[in-house]
């Protein structure tokens, strides 16, 4: 690494170039129109599965708070899969597919900031698809959504903190991925799938068996989704018993506290796993799966 380059500059440059690279990898396999359709159809279909499930049972009573709960939770959960898994998937992509990870390690960049940058393109794509899903929910499915009643400050702050939290969890996952050369392909999807189950994204945590609920309570994603629901549909979300004893400020403090905690854990874990991967020669290990 060029010793004359300040660390902050290296970090910013790594982040910026990785963002550009990530965008190219995500989007330039087809023309812009097809890419737009692709970005919308997949998440919208996932949302529609829940819509149909709910509609079949409730005979189309989409005005119910339960529906708003699961629809909004599912829409914003797209960020979890895309950002968290996106950051960690860069390790698999660069090590197994493009086989460039070892070259990145010997180039003058900051690897953690490079990985975080690779997740940015997915944030942009996800924001677009979440917007479309919410628009469909409001226009066609009677989500009780009044722009004048939205707590915009709470929404924007929650989304920003949530994305930082998810990026840090992605870094933690990237460390694990780096260390587990042979079993790394499914780690991200497994974690995202488990969090979908335990974070109360599509059903209140009360529905889970009692012994499983604590997992949901220690996950920052549970508080993040609750804050977003409260910011968007206010009283509707507060009607559910899971976090009814917590005010918005309580939830925000818990979210910030857990984000800082998981942030420290992620940085510590990344450094540890990164060192172990170098020590054991895993940086350029491929398995051709």
């Amino acid at each position: 690494m060029n010793s004359k380059t300040p660390n902050g500059s290296v970090a910013w440059r790594s982040f910026r170039m990785a963002t550009w690279l990530g965008w190219k990898i995500e989007s330039n396999w087809t023309d812009p129109f097809l890419f737009t359709v692709y970005s919308i159809v997949k998440p919208l279909a996932a949302a529609m599965i829940l819509v149909v499930m709910y509609g079949v049972i409730s005979q189309g009573q989409f005005g119910s708070p339960v529906f708003a709960y699961l629809f909004i939770g599912n829409a914003f959960y797209q960020y979890v899969g895309m950002v968290m898994v996106g950051v960690s998937w860069a390790i698999v992509d660069d090590r197994e597919h493009y086989r460039t990870l070892k070259y990145l390690y010997v180039s003058p960049i900051s690897i953690p900031f490079y990985l975080l940058g690779r997740g940015v393109s997915r944030i942009i794509i996800t924001t677009f698809s979440v917007f479309i899903i919410m628009l469909v929910g409001v226009l066609y499915l009677k989500i009780p959504f009044d722009p004048a009643k939205i707590d915009w400050v709470l929404l924007i702050i929650s989304v920003i903190i949530g994305i930082i939290m998810l990026a840090m969890l992605g870094l933690l996952l990237a460390g694990v991925t780096l260390r587990m050369a042979q079993y790394s392909f499914n780690i991200g999807d497994s974690v995202a799938g488990a969090l979908y189950l335990f974070s109360g994204a599509i059903f209140p945590l009360q529905v889970l068996p009692t012994f499983l609920r604590p997992i949901g309570y220690i996950m920052p994603i549970s508080y993040w989704l609750e804050l977003i629901r409260r910011a968007l549909v206010g009283g509707v979300a507060a009607a559910f018993p899971t976090f009814s004893n917590f005010s918005n400020s309580d939830l925000m403090l818990i979210l910030i506290g857990l984000t800082i905690f998981f942030g420290f854990v992620s940085v510590w874990a990344w450094r540890k796993f990164d060192w172990q991967a170098r020590e054991r020669g895993l940086i350029d290990q491929t398995n051709n799966y």
Binding site: W29, T30, Y38, V41, K42, P43, A45, A46, M48, I49, L50, V52, M53, Y54, G55, V56, I57, S58, V66, L70, H97, Y98, Q182, Y183, F185, N186, D189, S190, G193, A194, Y196, L197, I202, F203, P204, V207, L208, N288
Partner: protein
């Protein structure tokens, strides 16, 4: 000095060569996939997470208990769809990426035999995983099955698998021409297919044209028929009669297998002519 290989005494041709090719290509899937224990875990665990999440959604909205069974069966069938999507359709693309495809073409083994071997090996390996999902899901959530006819149920399952893996063989040849977009296409064929094929709910819930269009995926009629034959409320929630669905599955099986044969020949020739068999556009 290079070591000489022993001369081949029994040179196989015709059906014997075809059969050997099928066995040779299915071997890594039947045996190899069981050696990688993490794959068995993830292939069972990942669909189970979706199954459990959707079961809890139905519990949260107080759905009738049969819907829990629909989700469990849908989760098991999802394992087959994922196998067809990622290990059949995309397989020749992966083989191209790793340099094996050219070796397949060079070898005397027929490509149809290679595809059939992939299908049979994949079907066996996936059945083990699907069984795991059904057994675990049924035990966890106490699913109550009311089987109307075991024979019909088996026949529906068999025809669904023939048609489904026939579809996989057919699309594998189309993927011969694809590069990086193959991954994205397979990725796109997940949630939208889960939706229009009714993996988690009766397909009758849609307007009639949706299941009609969705029937191009054999799982649509297959799952609908299986639900009618395995659950008490199944017949009342079925889209069309089991008999019609059986006929539909036979038609799809023949259509996909014949198309696979024709398309494979055509696409192979096209790929050779355009020099795409060994390209790797990462």
């Amino acid at each position: 000095m290079a070591m000489m290989l022993p001369p081949i005494k029994n040179r196989q041709t015709g059906w014997r060569l075809f059969l050997m090719t099928v066995i040779g290509r299915s071997y890594p899937r039947v045996v190899g996939m069981q050696r990688e224990l993490s794959w068995i875990f993830f292939d069972t665990f990942l669909p189970m997470l979706g199954v459990v999440a959707y079961v809890f959604v139905y519990r949260a909205i107080k759905a009738p208990e049969d819907y829990v069974g629909f989700v469990v069966v849908g989760g098991a069938m999802m394992a087959y769809w994922m196998n067809v999507l990622w290990s059949m359709s995309s397989q020749l693309y992966w083989e191209k990426e790793t340099g094996n495809l050219a070796l397949y073409i060079i070898s005397p083994g027929p490509m149809m035999g290679i595809l059939l071997g992939m299908a049979m090996g994949g079907l066996f390996a996936t059945t083990l995983r699907a069984l795991g999902i059904v057994i675990l899901g049924s035990l966890f959530f106490q699913v109550h099955y009311v089987i109307v006819s075991f024979w019909q149920l088996f026949l529906v399952f068999f025809l669904t698998m023939v048609a489904l893996y026939g579809l996989g063989m057919m699309t594998a040849s189309l993927y011969l021409l694809l590069s990086r977009e193959a991954y994205h296409l397979s990725n796109l064929a997940q949630e939208p297919i889960f939706l229009i094929s009714g993996f988690y709910f009766p397909i009758k819930s849609f307007p009639a044209w949706v299941p009609f269009v969705g029937s191009i995926i054999p799982l649509t009629m297959g799952m609908d028929a299986m639900r009618q034959l395995a659950f008490a409320s199944g017949p009342s929630l079925g889209w069309i009669s089991v008999k019609l669905e059986l006929i539909g599955l036979v038609v799809l099986s023949v259509l996909f297998l014949v198309s696979a044969r024709v398309l494979l020949d055509y696409m192979e020739r096209l790929a050779v002519r355009e020099g795409r068999l060994t390209e790797s556009r990462a």
